[in-house]
């Protein structure tokens, strides 16, 4: 009989904690988005969809939505290509593999703010080492060396590349796990039957890895789409909102601008993507359960 309540007694505290600090604020985000709550203000007034209409009318917001998708999709495409190649290169034992694994992991493991600061220095407007190399090898003249974070187009490219750099290790280790789980005799049998490297890769290895590639992409997409740290450190959304994304705009509006309700309304626009990703995660999890 004691068993009936022992189970719930053991998991309820954790569930309640998560409910209080994820469930409640999640609902509050919606409640705030239809209100006029500011930092330091008391009371709550329902204002309907006012925040949403004013958000949708703002050019900064439209730019941020566009950028969020551009950044997420382009960096995930780069990550996917890079991680597949890198995982293949790391699969077999080679001297220094352990060190290589450590090195490959660092961009993901190091706090993202710290990796971003490293890049801010590498892409510095005056002392950029990238520019030094470009000038040294006469790709550009010293007086018109690129200002990576100061010109909209270059800033967008820089942000995408830093996101790619940050997420590549994560996707690589996950794909590597998928790759090593494929029984070795399957690709070998294909090789014996005369299939070349690329044929084996595209017709056997990649199809077998699809579920795991899905996992890497879903997590990668969500982490990139909802990240504001890279932007906050590299560009603060600038120049002229050219690198503004939904989460960074929510932060600048809601926290720095003290307009909690409008910030909440902006952040709500991340929810549809979260729902879609969660749905696919659930499907993956259930399929793993069945097999």
């Amino acid at each position: 009989m004691r068993q009936r309540w022992l189970g719930p007694a053991m998991f309820m505290p954790a569930i309640l904690y998560i409910f209080a600090l994820v469930g409640v604020p999640f609902v509050m985000a919606f409640v705030y988005s239809v209100s006029d709550v500011k930092i330091g203000s008391e009371g709550y007034h329902f204002v309907g969809l006012h925040n949403f209409t004013s958000v949708i009318d703002s050019p900064s917001f439209r730019q941020a939505v566009k950028n969020s998708f551009i950044f997420t999709i382009s960096s995930q495409i780069l990550v996917l290509i890079g991680a597949n190649i890198l995982a293949l290169a790391l699969r077999d034992a080679f001297p220094g593999r352990r060190f290589m694994r450590f090195l490959v992991l660092l961009p993901w493991v190091a706090p993202v703010s710290i990796g971003s600061i490293g890049w801010k220095w590498i892409l510095d407007s005056v002392y950029s080492v990238v520019n030094w190399v470009l000038v040294r090898f006469h790709f550009v003249k010293e007086f018109d060396a690129p200002v990576w974070l100061g010109i909209p187009k270059l800033a967008i490219i820089s942000v995408i590349l830093v996101h790619t750099w940050h997420m590549l290790p994560f996707a690589t280790v996950i794909l590597l796990a998928g790759l090593t789980a494929i029984p070795r005799d399957i690709p070998e049998a294909a090789a014996v039957d005369g299939a070349g490297f690329f044929r084996t890769l595209f017709q056997i290895t990649i199809p077998m890895m699809l579920p795991i590639i899905n996992v890497a992409v879903l997590f990668g997409a969500i982490f990139t789409f909802t990240d504001m740290t890279v932007i906050y450190i590299l560009t603060r959304g600038g120049p002229f909102d050219s690198t503004q994304v939904i989460p960074s705009l929510a932060f600048f509006t809601g926290i720095l601008g003290s307009d909690l309700s409008e910030g909440a309304a902006i952040s709500i626009f991340m929810v549809p993507l979260l729902v879609i990703v969660s749905y696919f995660m659930l499907r993956t999890a259930h399929r793993a359960e069945v097999t």
């Binding site: 053991m10 505290p13 569930i15 998560i18 660092l106 490293g118 220095w121 996992v215 999890a285």
Partner: protein, 280 residues
């Protein structure tokens, strides 16, 4: 198999490894070089930035340790990490066991539900949480993040530990319970000791997740002395528009590398958690 094909393959593989190794590792190499540079050397565009044109110096490290709050930030992070780890273990270990063993099929469903909450990003929750933190009287205190961080360490840890408990054969507990232990006794005296490596994994991951956060610490804490290392280095080592690049890079390197080493040791388990069982 023609030998030349093998040679070409090996060369291509090494080129790929070197290419990615250089790109992924470069920022950290650059931090290392910058750390020991003297300012006249660093801020001279005529100098080759890859070599030391003037002898390396330890002054930047001295500045970092003696004249900034760096050590304070490290201590804050370690303290917050330790408390968060304790809260996480106390709540997640029993929860994972209960969901893995006691509650049948819907325990697994609930476990997946718990894991999904890990996908709700801080950038969606930080605005309401800033009000909650203020209501609790924790604004601008290290305790604000200590209270909030378990909201993402518990889901992930519970999920990891569920897999771990499921891999232990049920017969062991049944035998122990036949020998007179209660269910709770079997959990405490048998399952927890048997799961030491799983629990250690959770300790490492909960701690590294704490070091990864930027948004919450930036939102809740405004006083420099109360910050964590991730936010402190990235925001408070910059005064106005002046970047103390050498000390900044030193701080980044010191904060990043130990975490990297820890993580690397426990990587395989981490992957198990993330792949949601898609790899068997």
């Amino acid at each position: 198999m023609a030998r030349p094909a093998r040679v070409v393959r090996t060369i291509v593989l090494w080129l790929v490894r070197i290419f990615f190794g250089v790109i992924l590792g470069f920022p950290f190499l650059w931090m290392l070089i910058t750390t020991f540079k003297r300012s006249p050397d660093l801020y001279n565009l005529k100098n080759n930035p890859f070599i030391f044109n003037e002898p390396p110096t330890l002054d930047n490290l001295r500045l970092l340790f003696n004249e900034t709050l760096f050590l304070r930030w490290i201590a804050n992070t370690a303290f917050a990490g330790a408390v968060v780890v304790v809260i996480t273990l106390v709540l997640a270990v029993p929860a994972a066991y209960a969901l893995a063993r006691l509650t049948g099929e819907w325990g697994t469903q609930l476990g997946i539900g718990v894991f999904l909450t890990y996908l709700v990003p801080p950038t969606l929750l930080f605005i309401p949480l800033s009000k909650i933190v203020a209501a609790l009287g924790l604004q601008d205190s290290l305790w604000s993040i200590i209270v909030v961080y378990p909201s993402f360490t518990i889901p992930f840890s519970t999920w990891l530990l569920m897999g771990f408990f499921k891999s232990i054969p049920k017969d062991l507990e049944d035998a122990a319970m036949v020998d007179g232990l209660t269910r709770w006794g079997a959990f405490i005296k048998l399952m927890v000791p048997m799961s030491t490596s799983g629990i250690l994994t959770v300790v490492i991951f909960a701690f590294t997740l704490v070091t990864q956060d930027f948004v919450y610490a930036l939102t809740f804490i405004s006083t420099a002395a109360h910050q964590t290392v991730g936010v402190g280095v990235a925001t408070f080592l910059v005064r106005g528009d002046v970047f103390y690049w050498q000390s900044l890079m030193a701080g980044c390197l010191i904060a990043a590398v130990p975490i990297g080493i820890l993580y690397n040791i426990f990587l395989d388990r981490f992957i198990e958690g993330f792949t949601v069982g898609a790899v068997k």
